[in-house]
């Protein structure tokens, strides 16, 4: 597609500034079931998003039809959409940052390995999982997916940036059965280079988790001390992102609005954003989707709120600079984050359990999209995990709900363990000990 033509036509039609972002990705995924490849997917996709300022307002459009016949469509839609906007707010196309952080994030090790090898590794892992324990009834799904993405940002103010990322993921779900009791176990691995791919480990971890949940039952309804596993804590941090969004803060739709530099959470809470992590190159961002250079920053420092996340528009409204958190949401720009890190503590999970003495270790929560009210922070969520007595795990627990308030939860963090894990939502966090939550069981 001829991008120059779009810029020329835009100018001709009265669009003051224009920005194009082209995201091109190629994907391969393989899933096996019962010793066979059950599904094999190959895909390529290229999406062009365009944002243009027309009579002072921003119009947005995207298309997957990247032939020259879309040129008129793009321009017409920008003008049409910009003309509908009534709200008086800044419309900004960025002139570029002075300096950008650079790091090699593309890894070609995935392409060098034949597909047959990837399939064989999965098949062996399935075999090992089934042999692991006679209670493993089924490997419900075992899959591998690799993807490479090239993101290209060009605008009429001279920004011209490219970023290429590659990664893969291995996911496994198994079913354990004892008498009539069925439990599932789920595990995954995010892979930055093919030599890390370890389906055996993923499958075995899934098996262990399923077996350890067998014969779980609800506990008595009351308040419990709670140890939240890193995976669960990651969901809690994800839910908190909404309240840290500069856009929500500007509109006074955030609990954290007006609380900058105040102590809002427990002093055990230090939350960082690191877009340049070498450990997790798949979450790397040198610049955001508006071309603003990203930077490492403390969001919450020992419980004190240090910054919100801003894109260009929200920053201009608040009279501050963009924090490099402008992320595409559909065709328009919203607010997002790269890698978030909750700083780990010094004690092991076991030491923390000993300190807790009695309580619940929650390893999984369900229904976050409905059970968490991001605005008020109130939540009540289906959960499972283990009962802790005298500082040790004594039995599995399921079909309970844990209920509380998200902001209270961060205020009531008693301790933070040293067992950090990374989740696919781009959050690294250890297990966390929370003073108490209301549990409903039997």
């Amino acid at each position: 597609m001829n991008f120059n033509k779009i810029f020329l036509l835009a100018k001709e039609k009265g669009i003051e500034d224009l920005e194009l972002s082209i995201s091109k990705s190629a994907k391969l995924s393989i899933s096996i079931f019962h010793k066979k490849v059950e599904s094999y997917n190959v895909a390529e996709n290229e999406t062009l998003s365009a944002r243009g300022i027309y009579k002072g307002k921003m119009g947005c459009v995207y298309t997957e039809n990247l032939t020259n016949q879309s040129t008129d469509f793009i321009i017409d839609e920008i003008i049409k959409n910009a003309s509908i906007i009534e709200e008086d707010k800044p419309a900004i196309i960025f002139e570029g940052s002075k300096k950008y952080h650079r790091m090699k994030t593309y890894n070609d090790s995935f392409n060098k390995v034949p597909v047959k090898d990837k399939i064989n590794r999965l098949l062996k892992a399935e075999e090992k999982a089934l042999a692991y324990d006679k209670r493993i009834a089924e490997v419900a799904s075992l899959s591998y997916e690799e993807e490479e993405t090239r993101f290209h940002l060009i605008n009429s103010k001279g920004v011209n940036l490219v970023q290429k990322v590659s990664d893969a993921m291995c996911v496994c779900e198994v079913l354990a059965k004892e008498n009539e009791d069925l439990k599932t176990g789920f595990e995954y691995q995010i892979i930055s280079s093919y030599d890390e791919f370890d389906p055996d480990k993923v499958a075995l971890e899934a098996c262990k988790s399923a077996i350890s949940q067998l014969n779980a039952e609800p506990v008595k309804s009351k308040k419990y001390k709670i140890l939240l596993d890193g995976k669960v804590m990651s969901s809690m941090i994800s839910s908190l992102k909404r309240s840290l969004s500069g856009e929500q803060v500007n509109r006074n739709k955030s609990y954290l609005a007006g609380k900058l530099n105040q102590k809002v959470f427990s002093s055990k809470v230090t939350l960082l954003e690191n877009p340049h992590s070498k450990k997790y190159p798949f979450f790397y961002r040198g610049f955001d989707d508006e071309g603003v250079a990203t930077e490492k920053k403390k969001v919450i420092d020992k419980g004190v709120l240090k910054t919100y996340f801003y894109n260009l528009e929200a920053a201009a409204q608040a009279g501050v600079s963009s924090t490099g958190n402008g992320y595409n949401s559909g065709a328009s720009i919203g607010i997002g984050t790269s890698l978030l890190i909750l700083k780990a503590g010094k004690k092991s999970k076991e030491e923390i359990m000993q300190k807790m003495k009695n309580g619940l270790y929650i390893t999984d929560i369900q229904g976050l999209h409905a059970g968490m009210d991001g605005l008020s922070g109130n939540f009540s969520l289906q959960a499972n995990g283990y009962l802790i007595e005298n500082g040790a795990i004594v039995k599995p627990v399921n079909l309970i709900t844990i209920a509380g308030n998200l902001f209270d939860l961060f205020e009531n963090i008693v301790d933070v363990a040293n067992d950090s894990t990374i989740t696919y939502s781009g959050i690294e966090t250890p297990s966390v000990y929370v003073r108490n939550l209301v549990v409903s069981g039997k």
Partner: protein, 463 residues
């Protein structure tokens, strides 16, 4: 998008290594979404989803690929890559392609692009005003309005050409009530596979906006819901999400065919109490989850899933149907060409019973009346499910007494259906978006008011 002759050429490639079925799914979807914050348009964007998905089946194996470059050269390349994943030689031929025609049932009378934007905005702003003016405690009112027009053309090696157009529109109004530091949001979101006539003629936006604002304030002032096991009365409409999660997902062939569902091998068996009959109906005129054809070109059906408590049928797509010795029954869906299709729900609901709403409330000594529900989720293998209550009340001695907030209901699909002991006669459907392996798709859920004799209710109020 492509000529019949070229489609036949690509389909021919799909069969070259012994596959028994090949399919091309072309899509051209345009969509627009508008956001109004505090009565002013703050964001508008539009898009064009455009591309082709190729699916090849060989016995119990499936390969799928997609691309947005639908030039003949690129599609041939994709078909070749996919067919190379099988070893073998050709065993069957592409049947002559012929269009399958049905009378289109879900046609927009007033297409959205024919309605001046001023008229659409005037309508939406009525909703804003009604909610905002309802009470000074209403701090903010946001409205999202999205419309889409999905054009689909399917070619397959069985000789089918199927064309379908799905025009959908949905608004979502959120009212936020605020008192001091406390904020409470509440939303309402009617939608249909119809044109603007749906909003003009069927949705009284001022009435639903007021209702929405009222509920936000009620919940702002509500006590925390107690947490314990108790009878739960689920109201009509979106209450049907319980059936969707607890029973609908486990009835999908994708889980059933692999024996990964709690309802595998249970046809003809009693899985629900006698008062429960449930239906999935993709043919409802203008229904949010309806279509003339499903996404593999089969006509949609009205499938009775449960009759008087007995399991009658599953939701089946052709591929998963193979392992069950069953043909697809019009339940194969996908979000777009970027998703490998599979068995999914369309408009799924529990049918009317014989009780009345008043009888159900009056015969409940103590329990939770869940007037309005948020979403939920289920693990189809174990049947464990959860869903959240967005507007709830305590029932005491046959009377609704006080509002409670923050409740989540949990349970297991295998026994919750057996615990439904009363079903009213006020069936209503409501719109939702269902996310699963083949993407996020529009579905209706629905039911009359019903009572579950006991459920675990999780709230923050303790016991």
């Amino acid at each position: 998008m492509i000529s019949k002759a070229n489609a036949a050429k690509i389909l021919d490639v799909t069969l070259a290594t012994g596959a028994d079925f090949g399919e091309l799914f072309f899509e051209d979807t345009t969509s627009t979404s508008m956001r109004l914050e505090n009565g002013e348009v703050s964001k508008v964007s539009s898009g064009n989803e455009y591309g082709c998905g190729i699916r090849i089946l060989k016995n119990d194996k499936c390969v799928y690929g997609y691309t947005n470059d639908i030039s003949m050269k690129n599609l041939m390349k994709l078909a070749n890559t996919l067919k190379d994943s099988f070893d073998g030689t050709k065993t069957c031929e592409v049947k002559p392609l012929k269009e399958v025609k049905v009378k289109a049932k879900h046609v927009a009378k007033i297409p959205y692009d024919s309605v001046p934007i001023e008229e659409q905005l005037e309508y939406l702003k009525k909703g804003f005003k009604a909610a905002k003016d309802y009470d000074p405690l209403i701090d903010k009112v946001d409205i999202n309005f999205s419309t889409s027009n999905q054009k689909v053309v399917i070619f397959n090696t069985d000789g089918k050409i199927v064309k379908d157009t799905r025009c959908r529109g949905r608004l979502y109004l959120t009212a936020i009530a605020k008192k001091g530091d406390q904020m409470q949001a509440n939303g309402v979101g009617p939608g249909a596979q119809k044109g603007f006539e749906f909003f003009k003629d069927e949705v009284d936006i001022e009435a639903i906006a007021k209702e929405c604002a009222k509920a936000a304030i009620t919940m702002l002032n509500a006590e925390e819901c107690p947490s314990k096991v108790m009878p739960v009365i689920l109201d009509n409409g979106f209450g049907g999400v319980i059936f969707h999660e607890a029973c609908g997902h486990p009835l999908e062939a994708s889980a059933v065919s692999k024996n990964l569902s709690i309802f595998s091998n249970k046809l003809g068996q009693k899985i629900a109490s006698d008062v429960v009959s449930a239906i999935d109906d993709g043919t409802i005129e203008g229904g949010w989850g309806s279509a003339n054809f499903d996404d593999e070109g089969n006509p949609t059906y009205r499938n009775v899933l449960i009759k008087d408590g007995i399991l009658q049928n599953y939701l089946i797509d052709n591929f998963n149907g193979r392992a069950m010795n069953r043909e697809g029954n019009g339940a194969c869906r996908r979000e777009s060409y970027k998703n490998e299709p599979t068995s999914r729900m369309s408009n799924t609901f529990i049918d009317n019973g014989k009780s009345t709403f008043d009888e159900i409330i009056a015969s409940t000594k103590y329990g939770l009346y869940a007037k309005s529900l948020g979403g939920g989720s289920v693990n189809p293998a174990t049947g464990d499910f959860n869903f959240s209550v967005s507007e709830g009340y305590i029932v005491e001695n046959g009377k609704i007494t006080k509002p409670v907030k923050g409740a989540t209901l949990i349970g297991n699909g295998a026994n919750v259906l057996l615990k439904i002991d009363m079903v009213a006669n006020n069936l209503k459907r409501a719109q939702g978006i269902c996310g699963a392996s083949s993407g996020s798709i529009p579905v209706d859920v629905g039911q009359p008011t019903l009572r579950v004799s006991s459920m675990t209710v999780g709230g923050r109020g303790g016991n």
